[in-house]
C-alpha cells in the first residue's frame, strides 16, 4: 500500500494542477473584465453632434492651419451650421494666434468655460488659460486631465461640428481624446516629404488601433509658385501623400499649395478662408468638405448635412 503521506502529496499536487488550469481560464476572464473596467468609457459631449479631429503624427505640417480653415470652411459652406474649434495642442497652442483671439474665458453659473468666438466659430484653447511665454511643463497624467476639462467643462452649446486640432505625435492626448469621446473621423495632414509621411502613416495606424475612422489625407505645402517668375518648385517633394493614401487605402482629400498668403493671413490672425474667400487656396481647403466629411443626421426637414461647394 503506498505511503499515505505520499498519496496525500500526490492528491494535493493533482488538486493544485486542476485548480490552476481552471483558475487560469477564469483568471484570464477576470483580468479581461478588470482591464475593460479600467478603460475610460466613451461619452459624447452634450450638444455636440460630430467630432472631427485634424491630426498628423508629424509636427509642423499645418494641422492647426488646416483645422482653422476647415472649421471656417464648414461654416462658410453652410452658415446654418454651428461650428466649434478645440485646440488640443496643450504644449504649443496655435489657435489663439490663428483666430486672432486673446483673453481668459468667462465662466457660466455652473462653472463651465465660455468659449471665445471669432469669425462665427466658437474656440477653446489652452492658450487662453496661460501666459504667452509660459511653458506647459506637464506630464501625461496632467495633460489628460486638462484635455478632459477642455472637452467637457466648456459651454459649447449646440454644435453641428467640433473640429479638434491635435498636437503632433501619437501619445497621451490622442489616446485620451479617442478613448473619451466618440470621434466621427480623422483628417490626417502631411507634407509630401517621406519623413512626414512616415509619421502620417503612424498617425493613421494609431487611429486604426483606437477604432477612429480615417476620413482621408490632405497633402499640405504641395508646391510653391514663385511670385516673381511663377516657376513651380516642389520644395518638400511631390505626390508623396497621394501615394501614401493609395497604399493605405484611405481617401486622398486634396493638395493645398505652399502659398505666401496662407502663412501671412495665419500670422495676422485672419485665416485665408475669411480673408480671401475666392482664392484658389480656399478651394483647396474646402475640397475635403465635398468629399468624405461625415454628414450630421438630417434635420426635421429631412435635408442632409454638408452640401457640395
Amino acid at each position: 500500500m503506498p505511503c499515505p503521506s505520499l498519496f496525500l502529496t500526490h492528491l494535493v499536487v493533482l488538486f493544485c494542477v486542476l485548480k490552476h488550469s481552471v483558475d487560469s481560464k477564469s483568471l484570464q476572464e477576470r483580468q479581461r473584465q478588470q482591464m475593460a473596467r479600467g478603460l475610460p468609457k466613451q461619452k459624447p459631449i452634450t450638444g455636440v453632434k460630430q467630432i472631427i479631429v485634424v491630426a498628423s503624427g508629424k509636427g509642423g505640417v499645418g494641422k492647426s492651419t488646416t483645422a482653422v480653415n476647415l472649421a471656417l470652411g464648414l461654416s462658410a459652406n453652410d452658415p446654418s451650421k454651428s461650428v466649434g474649434l478645440l485646440d488640443a495642442d496643450v504644449y504649443g497652442p496655435s489657435i489663439p494666434k490663428l483666430m486672432n483671439l486673446k483673453g481668459s474665458p468667462d465662466l457660466t453659473d455652473n462653472n463651465l468655460m465660455i468659449p471665445l468666438m471669432n469669425y462665427g466659430i466658437l474656440c477653446m484653447s489652452m492658450g487662453f488659460l496661460v501666459d504667452d511665454a509660459a511653458p506647459i511643463v506637464w506630464r501625461g497624467l496632467m495633460v489628460m486631465s486638462a484635455i478632459e476639462k477642455l472637452l467637457r467643462q466648456v459651454d459649447w452649446g449646440e454644435l453641428d461640428f467640433l473640429v479638434v486640432d491635435m498636437p503632433p505625435g501619437t501619445g497621451d492626448v490622442q489616446l485620451s481624446i479617442s478613448q473619451n469621446v466618440p470621434v466621427a473621423g480623422a483628417v490626417i495632414v502631411s507634407t509630401p516629404q517621406d519623413i512626414a509621411l512616415l509619421d502620417a502613416r503612424r498617425g493613421a495606424e494609431m487611429f486604426n488601433k483606437v477604432h477612429v475612422p480615417v476620413i482621408g489625407l490632405v497633402q499640405n505645402m504641395s508646391v510653391f509658385q514663385c511670385p516673381n517668375c511663377l516657376h513651380q518648385t516642389h520644395i518638400f517633394g511631390s505626390d508623396g501623400a497621394k501615394n501614401l493614401a493609395l497604399s493605405m487605402g484611405v481617401h486622398f482629400l486634396g493638395d493645398v499649395p505652399l502659398h505666401l498668403s496662407i502663412r501671412e493671413t495665419s500670422d495676422s490672425g485672419k485665416p485665408v478662408v475669411v480673408s480671401a474667400p475666392d482664392s484658389a487656396e480656399v478651394w483647396a481647403h474646402l475640397r475635403p468638405l465635398g468629399r468624405q466629411l461625415p454628414c450630421p443626421p438630417p434635420d426635421d426637414t429631412g435635408r442632409a448635412g454638408v452640401s457640395r461647394p
Binding site: 494666434k97 489616446l175 518648385t233
Partner: protein
C-alpha cells in the same frame, strides 16, 4: 550588465539638447546637419534620438535597420561609418517594425528614455546631441532628470521665422530658464526660399522672427538656415548634405552655426 555604477556618459565631454516648442521646424534636420558639420570639423559626435513618436534621424543618416547589440556597459550605439566618428541611438532601432506607431502614455515613455539616456555605451565623445520631440512634456523632463547627474552644456533652440513658431519657442525658452538649461542660441530655419529659376527670395515662412526672438529673450542668435530643396532631398535620401553641397549658402550657414556653437562650448 555591470552594476558597478559605470557612468556611460563619463567620457562624453559635451551634451547639447536640440529643442523647439514647435513641431516641424527642423530639429532633426538641424541636429543631423550640425552632427555632420561637427564631424567635418574633426570632432567625435553622438546623436541620441528621443523622439519616440517620430524618430527621424536613422533615415536622415541612411542607417537603415541595424541590429542593436548590448555589451557589459549597456547598448552599443550604431556607428554610421567605419571610423566610428558619428554614433547614433534611436528608439527606431528597438522597434520590430520601424514604421510602427508608438502609442504610449507618459510613464512608459519616461521609463524608456531613462534607459536610453543612461544605458547607451557611448565611449569617448566630444559632443552628444540630443534630438527631442516638440513641446515640453514627459520626454523632456525625463531627459533632463536623467542627465542631471551628468552635465548638460545647454540647448540649441530651433524655430522658423513665423509667429506661430516663435510663440511656441518662447515657451521653450522659459522652460529652459526654469530648469536651469543654458540657452546656447537660437537657429532660424526655413529662413527664405531662393527660387532656383529666377533667384527671387520669397519669405514663405516670414523672416526675422528668430532674430527678434533672440533679442526679446536676450539669447544668442546662432544664424539662419534657408529653405533649401537640396537639403530636404539629402535628408530624405539619407545623404551627407555637408559633403555633397559645400558651395551652397546652406552649407555656409550651417558651418557658421557649428563654429559659433564650438566656441560657446569652448572646444
Amino acid at each position: 550588465r555591470d552594476g558597478s555604477g559605470l557612468d556611460n556618459l563619463s567620457q562624453v565631454r559635451h551634451v547639447v539638447l536640440v529643442l523647439s516648442g514647435k513641431g516641424g521646424v527642423g530639429k532633426s534636420t538641424i541636429t543631423t546637419e550640425l552632427a555632420l558639420a561637427l564631424r567635418q570639423a574633426g570632432k567625435k559626435v553622438g546623436i541620441l534620438d528621443v523622439d519616440l513618436c517620430g524618430p527621424s534621424i536613422p533615415r536622415m543618416l541612411s542607417v537603415g535597420r541595424p541590429d542593436v547589440h548590448q555589451c557589459d556597459a549597456g547598448w552599443v550605439p550604431v556607428y554610421t561609418d567605419a571610423q566610428k566618428s558619428l554614433a547614433l541611438m534611436s528608439i527606431g532601432f528597438l522597434m520590430e517594425d520601424p514604421d510602427e506607431a508608438v502609442v504610449w502614455r507618459g510613464p512608459k515613455k519616461t521609463a524608456l528614455i531613462g534607459q536610453f539616456v543612461s544605458d547607451v555605451s557611448w565611449g569617448e565623445l566630444d559632443v552628444l546631441l540630443v534630438d527631442t520631440p516638440p513641446g515640453t512634456s514627459d520626454e523632456h523632463l525625463a531627459v533632463l532628470e536623467n542627465l542631471k547627474k551628468h552635465r548638460v552644456d545647454g540647448a540649441v533652440l530651433v524655430t522658423t521665422p513665423q509667429a506661430v513658431s516663435t510663440g511656441d519657442v518662447r515657451r521653450e525658452i522659459t522652460f529652459c530658464k526654469k530648469t536651469g538649461v543654458r540657452i546656447l542660441g537660437i537657429v532660424e530655419n526655413m529662413s527664405g526660399f531662393i527660387c532656383p529659376h529666377c533667384s527671387e527670395c520669397s519669405n514663405i515662412f516670414s523672416k526675422g522672427g528668430g532674430e527678434e526672438l533672440a533679442k526679446l529673450t536676450g539669447s544668442v542668435f546662432l544664424g539662419s538656415v534657408p529653405l533649401d530643396p537640396q537639403l530636404s532631398t539629402s535628408t530624405e535620401e539619407g545623404k551627407d548634405f555637408m559633403q555633397s553641397f559645400p558651395e551652397s549658402a546652406t552649407f555656409s550657414a550651417i558651418s557658421s552655426i557649428c563654429a559659433t556653437l564650438l566656441k560657446s562650448l569652448e572646444i
